[in-house]
């Protein structure tokens, strides 16, 4: 495995970087057995460390093999007859569940024969998100592309014209609902949060009081109660005969809630901008909104990308709470798909799959924000 001739070279180079110790160079035999050497100096260099290492190995030994045998080696991947019989016979995970129930999990109660519509809509949105993420596509045409995609997605989801059957919003569900709520919630909450943050720092007492009051009020209650308010209490105040779509009410609830939290993150950024920046803009005669848009916000928002993305991720996961007002988001749809008595024993696999979908989206946001921070910092740091 290790050829002494080659390894001397590598070890020398590595030793230069890792540790200035000349002992490694002085003893050729130690160089040859570098992995052992490494283990000795990193894993067993003291008694407590040796104990920790042994404990860690023991823990891994206890956890990993059973997990692998459950999740991979003994797992049932396919169900030949469309029932859970094969799974009940096996001892491992029942991934056949995904084969049978994936459409229900992904699209909820959307009419079964129309599932291609939400699938296509979701794929379109994800493709657009991926495109928008890249700097080379940050051109005005992107806005028009989004407008087009939004119209197409609305057409696909609702239908009713151009040969598609009408599907009302209570039937929407699964991943498209989660994605749509999160995305629209974020897109609407973000500008609102900027206005709130600016308002909270305004010189005008009335505006400051309204914004501060709003933020403190909304931050003081759980999202669940905001959603309840939006879906149960709010209609009571509407005139007879007027109804507002349940999905829309949930979206408004999510947006208002997220905006309050985002506003505080944005305010943090605003406070970090030196007073002199605004003074310089004032001295040049820039009116308030242009000063904010051109000078203050570009700097402030860049500073608070981490907490903003934090809030976006929160918002994405919080969409799972809309289940309490009777909407079937990804998690609720997963739960519903497990209602089938035949498959019910395999709920763990179902939830793992749902968790994986959430994780993929949240992790992507997290990685993207790190890239964005670096990208936007180019050339501007001292």
């Amino acid at each position: 495995m290790i050829r002494p001739q080659d390894d001397i070279h590598n070890a020398t180079a590595a030793a230069d970087v890792e540790e200035p110790s000349s002992a490694v160079l002085a003893a050729p035999s130690a160089v040859v057995w570098k992995p052992l050497n490494w283990a000795k100096s990193n894993l067993f260099d003291s008694v407590p460390n040796a104990i920790m290492t042994l404990l860690a190995v023991l823990l891994l030994w206890e956890v990993v093999p059973p997990l692998l045998s459950w999740g991979v080696f003994n797992a049932t991947w396919f169900s030949a007859d469309g029932t859970a019989a094969a799974c009940r016979d096996g001892t491992g995970a029942c991934w056949a569940l995904m084969g049978e129930k994936n459409r229900l999990m992904l699209f909820g109660v959307y009419p079964y024969d129309q599932h291609w519509r939400p699938a296509l809509a979701t794929a379109l949105v994800i493709a657009m998100l991926a495109t928008s993420a890249l700097r080379r596509f940050w051109v005005p045409a992107l806005a028009y592309a989004w407008l087009g995609v939004v119209l197409v997605v609305a057409w696909l989801m609702w239908g009713g014209i151009l040969g598609l059957r009408y599907v009302e919003t209570p039937q929407w569900g699964g991943l498209p609902l989660t994605l749509g709520l999160a995305l629209l919630g974020i897109v609407l909450a973000f500008p609102l949060s900027i206005v709130l943050a600016l308002g909270r720092r305004s010189n005008l007492p009335a505006i400051r009081a309204v914004c501060t009051g709003y933020i403190e009020l909304v931050r003081g209650v759980p999202l669940v109660s905001v959603l309840f308010m939006a879906s149960v209490m709010f209609p009571l105040f509407l005139p007879e005969g007027v109804t507002i779509d349940k999905l829309l009410r949930a979206l408004v609830g999510m947006t208002l809630f997220t905006a309050a939290y985002l506003a505080e993150a944005v305010r943090g950024g605003l406070q970090a901008i030196p007073r002199g920046q605004e003074e310089a803009a004032d001295a040049l005669g820039l009116p308030y909104w242009r000063k904010m848009r051109l000078i203050v916000l570009p700097q402030a928002l860049r500073l608070v990308i981490p907490p903003i993305v934090n809030q976006f991720i929160s918002c994405f996961k919080d969409t799972s709470l809309v289940t309490i007002v009777g909407l079937y988001d990804l998690l609720a749809a997963t739960k519903a798909s497990l209602a089938d008595p035949d498959w019910r024993p395999f709920f763990v696999e179902g939830y793992i799959a749902a968790a994986l979908v959430y994780w993929v989206f949240c992790f992507s946001m997290s990685r993207y924000s790190q890239w964005l921070e670096r990208e936007l910092a180019t050339g501007t740091r001292r």
Binding site: A280, D282, A283, L284, G285, L286, L294, Q299, R381
Partner: protein, 248 residues
């Protein structure tokens, strides 16, 4: 160089920070093309006074009239005055997220709505004038302090102001960079710009000032031509101050 109409006039200006009376009966009259150098110990209110001229600070009593427009709560009047009054700060206050060129074109583009090509032409001319045209594409953070302050001067000039305010423009600079900034200011003075300059650079004051103003404890103690100011100041307080800063 100077004619008689005052372009900046402060009449018995009063200002408080809370209970602290920062400006007491401050009066000052600046004619077109006049160069006024304001000096005084720290905390004497000289920066506050100059910042009142373009309403970065609000005064609570007296009157301030700039180009015939009285400064009050009228936002339009304030914006009109700011368009015509350039300001250079002690700490430069360049916009760090914009390139040097963008710093210069921003206000012409967004306040005066000058076409982009024209704004960039003007910006390049100004950078030439402050002797750093080769830095146009850099960000402020990549320049030295002296270069940044020259960019800041160019940025103010890009609005083609008729009055320039300098608030201790060389105080934050390393000693070897002071001269390059003063040279630009002296050149500007030679072109007939109306200037109000808060500074302790007495060499500069001797070279360009038409009028010296000495402030202490929120009051204008002395206003006199530089020859008299430096050789035979009227007040004892001025004499003390000059002794302190020139003695070193």
């Amino acid at each position: 160089m100077t004619d008689d109409a005052p372009v900046v006039e402060l009449i018995d200006v009063q200002k408080w920070y809370g209970a602290f009376h920062v400006l007491k009966d401050v009066s000052l009259s600046v004619r077109k093309g006049e160069k006024v150098v304001v000096c005084g110990p720290s905390g004497s209110g000289k920066s506050t006074m100059i910042r009142c001229v373009n309403r970065l600070e609000e005064h609570q009593g007296g009157r301030i009239i700039v180009n015939g427009i009285e400064l009050a709560d009228d936002l339009k009047a304030i914006e009109a005055i700011r368009k015509d009054v350039g300001m250079v700060f002690q700490s430069f206050n360049l916009f760090p997220h914009l390139t040097v060129l963008e710093n210069l074109t921003l206000a012409p583009l967004w306040v005066k709505h000058v076409p982009k090509a024209e704004a960039e032409d003007l910006a390049m001319q100004l950078l030439q004038r402050v002797r750093i045209p080769d830095q146009a594409k850099k960000f402020p953070g990549q320049l030295s302090g002296g270069q940044q302050q020259r960019v800041a001067i160019a940025r103010a000039l890009a609005m083609k102001p008729s009055i320039m305010l300098f608030d201790e423009p060389t105080s934050a600079l390393d000693p070897e960079m002071v001269k390059e900034v003063l040279d630009v200011m002296i050149e500007l003075a030679g072109e007939g710009m109306t200037m109000i300059c808060v500074t302790h650079e007495m060499g500069f004051a001797r070279a360009v000032a038409d009028t010296m103003v000495f402030m202490a404890e929120g009051r204008v103690i002395e206003t006199s031509p530089p020859e008299q100011f430096f050789s035979d100041p009227k007040s004892e307080r001025t004499r003390q101050f000059l002794g302190q800063i020139i003695g070193h």
